[in-house]
Amino acid sequence: MAESTQDKIVSYLYKKVPSAKNLSLSQFVQTAVGWSHEIYVFDAQWKENGQEKTQGFCLRKDPGSGLLRTLSDLKEQYRVLQALEPTPAPTPKVYWFEEDPSLLGGPFFIMEKVPGEATNPWSKVGKQYYAEAAKRGKLPRSFIEALASLHNLDWRAAGLDFIGVPGPGNDFALREVAKWESLIQRSLRKPEPVLTEVLMWLKANAPKTQRLAFVHGAYRTGNLMIKDDLISAIIDWELQVIGDPMYDVAYVLSDLNREGSPLLSCVVERDFFIDTYQQLTELTIDFDACRYYEILYMMRSTAFWLSASGLFAEGKSKDLRLARTTYSVPVVLNMAAKALGF
C-alpha cells in the first residue's frame, strides 16, 4: 500500500529528531485556503529521553504547478522567516527546509503552528468576526503595529537584502511592474489592450520611494493569524520585497480588500489607521503614491487571474477555482479603467 502523506511526514520528523521514539501525528488537517501552496497543520507527539513531548507544526509545500510558481520561491520564504525570527515582527518560527522533491512530491518547509486563526474576511462569518473585533478595539491597533513592525525593520541588519534591493527614485515601482508584466507575458493567451494601457500608464507614472522598507506585499486580514484579538503571526510570505512602504499602505487603504465593509481590511477605521501608522513609523502617507499602487495592485490581480486561468486552460490544473478566474479578468480591468478615468 502507498505510504500516506502523514506516514511520510513521520519518517521525515524521525530523521530531524533522531532521539524521538513513538512519534505520531494528530489533528492532521490540510487547509484549503492556499492556491499556490499545499499547507498541512498537525500536532506531533513523541518520547525523547524518557519524556513525553508534543509540538504543533505547519508544513508548507510547493505543489509544482500552483500559482505564482515563477515569482515565489519556497527557499526564499524559509530564509525570510529565518531572518525575521529575532526581529519584533510577529512571524512563525521555522525549523527545517527540505529541497528534495522525492520525499513529499515537492520542496517544503516546516514551521511552528502559531496559536490563533487567520479568519477569511470574505465570508459573512468572517466579516462579522472582524467587525466585532474592531468594536472591541485591540485588533485594529495590533493590525497597525504589526505592519509598522515590518516597515520600521532594519532590513539590512536583519540580513534581508538577499531578496533584492531596488535602486533610488522610482526603481522599485518599475521593478514591480516589470515583475508582474513578466507573469502576464507568460500567461497571456490573447492580446489585452486594456491591460496594455494600464501597464503603459504604470510605467509612465511610477512614483519615487520616500524610504526603502521591508514590505509584505499582501498585508491584509486573512494573511494574519489572530489570537485573543492580537496578531500572533503575519503569514503568507510569498510576495515580500524591499521597496516602498506605501505599497503595503495602499493595499490596506484599497477597496479591493474590504468588499463593502466600511473598515479597511474589514477591521480598522481609515482615520485611525492613517494617524496611528504615521505615528508609529514616522512616515507621511503619500496618497498619490497609494493611488498609483492601488492601480498596480489591479494590474497584479489581472496578472494573477490570467496566470490562474492559463494554468487551467493549458491543462496543468483541473481546479475549477482557477477556471472561474477567467471571468475575473475583465472585472478587475474594469476597476483599473475606472481608476484611470475611463
Partner: protein, 133 residues
C-alpha cells in the same frame, strides 16, 4: 476568456469524477451525476456569442480610422496586422513611447480616443463577466 465549450467539458468532468464520487448520500450523488448529464446536453444547445466579437471589431475599426485621420502620417505602420486587438496593443505602446515627439496635447487627445474605445471593448467583455453598470 476560456470558451464556453471548454468550460462545459471541464465542469462536467469535475461533476462526474470529483464531486459525485465523493458524495455518500445517494440522492445528492444522483443529482451531481444528473447535473453532468444535463450539462452535456446543454453544451450541445449552446453557441458561443458572436455579437460581442462583431461589436469589438466595429469599435476597433472606428478607432483605427479615427486615429489615422487625427495623427495623419505619424501612426505606426501596422495596418496590415489582422489581429486588431494585438494591433491596438502596439498602438498604445507606440503612443506612450512617442509621447514627447507627439506633444502633450496630441498625446492626450489620441489617448482619450483610445481609452473611449477601450471602455467599449470592456463593456462588451462585461456582458459575459456580468458586472456591467
Amino acid at each position: 476568456m476560456l470558451t464556453a465549450h471548454h468550460l462545459f467539458k471541464e465542469v462536467i468532468a469535475s461533476l462526474r469524477n470529483v464531486v459525485a464520487p465523493a458524495i455518500a448520500d445517494p440522492y445528492p450523488k444522483s443529482q451531481a451525476y444528473m447535473a453532468a448529464v444535463i450539462l452535456e446536453f446543454v453544451s450541445r444547445q449552446v453557441e458561443e456569442r458572436r455579437d460581442i466579437d462583431q461589436e469589438k471589431q466595429q469599435t476597433l475599426n472606428r478607432l483605427f480610422h479615427d486615429l489615422s485621420a487625427f495623427l495623419a502620417d505619424k501612426t505606426p505602420s501596422s495596418a496590415s496586422e489582422t489581429d486588431y486587438e494585438a494591433r491596438l496593443c502596439r498602438l498604445i505602446e507606440w503612443l506612450y513611447n512617442e509621447k514627447e515627439r507627439l506633444g502633450p496635447e496630441a498625446f492626450a487627445t489620441a489617448n482619450q480616443k483610445v481609452r473611449a474605445a477601450l471602455r467599449q471593448l470592456l463593456d462588451q467583455e462585461l456582458k459575459i463577466a456580468g458586472t456591467t453598470e
